[in-house]
């Protein structure tokens, strides 16, 4: 069987996600959307807009800014917040470092990806969020495949895979003790292809780095790393210009580029259908070990 072009978005997935977002608004006092500027969180914002229309999106957006973002992502974030009239809160990893709560990594693989967790947990406590809505999907990674829609975290943000609440039919139980919080994953059942088909159907704007563009990159461990002041390079690693695009948007220090000419959504979708590399295969942070994601999730990461 070959993969024919699949343009059609399964509508059941939108209905399910809207139902989950409405449950989140109803069951929690202070829910928020965790917004990274990536395509998954852009999708969440769209779903929230549709779920409560003609009312307003009842959630603020929380962005944990590592300081190592692609400038295009920040630009896009501000444009989206402005055009939809959203309420954006930003908390900075740099502040956590300055307060001595997080320590900058060293060496050529240094990234602030893991440090985000510290800032995120502090922000949840400070802003008293009892539910944080994220765009994580079960198909991204094997530890995420076991994640619930309403995932309870303890005071330290920890995920306990063995103590998860059963979720039956569409009934969601968001009851928690004081100090606990819940991570909510409305697009758990979507795949990367579903997200792209949705972006196409809804005609959503996305940051320009998802499309083919020329940029300075270096080659390391068989992957193309975006060259930036945040990346520690060795003398042998010389940057060169290349037409690339990004399949996921993380930090400039943990997201690898793919060589691509795709500059339209249609081309991106075709590329995914033929892709030889999985989405998170371009995430340098996942390559640290086989259980990298599971370990980060236990510590409070998404």
């Amino acid at each position: 069987m070959t993969n024919k072009i699949q343009w059609e978005f399964p509508q059941a997935l939108e209905d399910e996600a809207i139902y989950i977002l409405r449950e989140t608004a109803a069951q929690f006092e202070r829910p928020a959307i965790l917004f990274s500027g990536g395509k998954d969180s852009i999708t969440i914002v769209r779903l929230a807009q549709k779920a409560f229309y003609p009312g307003k999106v009842p959630f603020p957006l929380l962005h944990v800014d590592t300081g190592h973002n692609f400038p295009e992502t920040i630009q896009f974030r501000d444009w989206l917040v402005e055009s939809l009239g959203l309420d954006l809160r930003v908390r900075y990893v740099q502040d956590s470092i300055d307060q001595g709560k997080a320590q900058e990594e060293t060496g050529k693989y240094a990234s602030r990806n893991a440090l985000q967790t510290v800032t995120l947990l502090d922000a949840i406590e400070e802003l008293k969020f009892d539910a944080c809505i994220g765009g994580a999907r079960r198909d991204e990674e094997k530890a995420r495949a076991k994640e619930r829609i309403f995932s309870v975290r303890d005071e330290f943000g920890q995920w306990n895979a063995k103590m998860q609440r059963p979720e039956l039919f569409d009934m969601l139980n968001g009851k928690i003790q004081l100090g606990e919080n819940v991570r909510v994953f409305p697009i758990s059942n979507w795949t990367e292809l579903d997200v792209w088909n949705y972006i196409r159907r809804e005609n959503l704007q996305i940051p320009s780095i998802y499309f083919s563009h020329e940029r300075e990159i270096i080659e390391r461990d068989g992957m193309y790393w975006p060259y930036s002041p945040f990346l520690n390079t060795t003398e042998e690693e010389t940057p060169f210009r290349q037409k690339v695009r990004f399949r996921t948007v993380g930090d400039m220090t943990c997201t690898a580029a793919v060589i691509s000419e795709a500059d339209k959504l249609e081309d991106i979708i075709s590329e995914i259908l033929e892709a030889k590399i999985s989405e998170r295969g371009a995430r340098i942070d996942d390559k640290r070990s086989e259980a990298a994601m599971e370990k980060r999730k236990q510590a409070g990461y998404f």
Binding site: K146, A275, I277
Partner: protein, 415 residues
């Protein structure tokens, strides 16, 4: 594009994970880098072949113990539909996970090792599929390669299974038997040449042709209200819409409705999906409904039609599957959640406990602990608007929440 949800249940070594891995492989759903990771992981384990089952066994503990301990979700697509597999463990101590995985499924996939035939777990899996009224049952007789693709062996297992079904309280309207070899991909994506005596569809061919009617008018119209949308902006000053989900059946603009628990009636003015005005909404759709009149309706209310509205139940008899380490305490008050509606409920009595392997009542057992299934009676503080699970599964299930721990301790099916 349709979404088809499948639950798989199987024993540790009957090749369930291999079957799923193989389906993904044959539908080109495994990207190259994941395939390479599988090669490497298989080599580390000292295997001389690529172990596709490693794809689904996600957690470190599972990889260490070589077992599946939770529900994992796996996704793949064909040009015609999207598939979601809830992969659950088969041991008796994971009955609750099996029930969880099965709760959203339209298809139950039961694996039988051709060498062993029907074993204890087969009875359990069949019992759960029956309890949940899963409409499609697919029995895959696996490891046919190890019985020399014997037709006689396959027929014997089919016969044994038919006997098992004969004693069941509920039979899936559709049962399909397929001889397969998940290790070699026989009869999975494509028809097997080695099993030439079998003329039916391969597993994927069979799944591809399953159809559903979501507007199914044999089920009564039910709409659960999640929230009331009142924007109070200039443009929508008087807007009052009920955001929620069609549970079963369908609603049209102009239909007369009754709201429960208030029992007030009105007519549907509009059905809205964001900026689009719909004329009808069917089961599983998330929409906003506005009414002609201002009637008492809020979160937890249910809209239905006057001619077949659900009864207001305060005394409930139900089958339950207990899901918590702490046993059910008769006389204790729990929180009962039916759809999005929560009420306090007291367990009156445990009537009996069922042995899920034999489908018989366990004599002298009057307590429900983790993974036990039995029948109880409940009394609620205010009415719920449920149908019997048998008549309308989408509106017949509930969960029980322990107010001390906040855990979901049970799922119930209204009698």
């Amino acid at each position: 594009m349709e979404v088809l949800r499948i639950t798989t249940s199987g024993s540790v070594d009957d090749g369930k994970s291999t079957l799923i891995g193989r389906l993904l492989y044959d539908t080109h759903s495994i990207p190259q880098d994941k395939m390479e990771a599988l090669h490497a992981a298989s080599k580390r384990k000292g295997l001389d072949f690529t172990d596709l089952s490693l794809l689904t066994d996600g957690l470190v503990a599972e990889r260490e113990q070589g077992i599946t301990i939770d529900v994992a979700h796996i996704y793949f697509s064909t040009p015609s539909r999207k598939y979601i597999i809830a992969d659950t463990p088969g041991h008796i101590e994971y009955t609750r996970n099996m029930v969880t995985g099965a709760s959203n499924a339209q298809v139950s996939l039961i694996l039988i090792d051709a060498r062993k035939g029907i074993v204890e777990q087969t009875y359990r899996h069949f019992f759960i599929a029956s309890l949940l009224r899963i409409p499609y049952l697919v029995v895959c007789v696996n490891k046919m390669d190890l019985v020399e693709y014997s037709e006689a062996r396959f027929n014997q297992i089919v016969e044994d299974f038919q006997e098992l079904i004969a004693n069941a309280t509920f039979k899936a309207p559709s049962i399909k038997f397929i001889p397969i070899s998940s290790l070699y991909g026989e009869n999975l994506a494509t028809r097997s040449e080695k099993i030439n005596w079998y003329s039916g569809e391969s597993l994927l061919e069979y799944l591809e042709q399953i159809t559903f009617d979501h507007a199914d008018s044999s089920h009564p119209a039910r709409f659960k209200v999640q929230s009331v949308i009142r924007p109070k902006t200039d443009a929508y000053h008087d807007f009052r819409g009920f955001a929620g989900k069609v549970v079963s059946g369908h609603f049209n603009v102009g239909d007369e409705i009754i709201s429960l628990p208030s029992q007030q009636k009105s007519r549907i003015k509009t059905i809205e999906q964001f900026e689009t005005q719909l004329t009808t909404a069917e089961a599983r759709q998330s929409v906003v409904i506005t009414l002609e009149d201002e009637i008492d309706t809020s979160r937890g209310s249910m809209l239905s039609k006057p001619e077949n509205a659900p009864a207001l139940l305060k005394e409930i008899a139900a089958q339950v599957c207990w899901m918590d380490q702490t046993k059910l305490v008769p006389g204790k008050t729990y929180l009962l959640q039916h759809g999005v509606n929560r009420v306090k409920a007291k367990v009156q009595q445990i009537q009996h406990v069922i042995d899920v392997t034999s489908n018989k009542i366990v004599e002298d057992k009057k307590e429900l602990g983790l993974n036990d299934i039995g029948k109880i009676s409940l009394k609620t503080a205010s009415p719920i608007f449920a149908d019997s699970y048998d008549a309308n599964p989408a509106n017949g299930a509930f969960i029980l929440i322990d107010e001390m721990s906040n855990s979901t301790v049970a799922v119930g099916f209204v009698d």
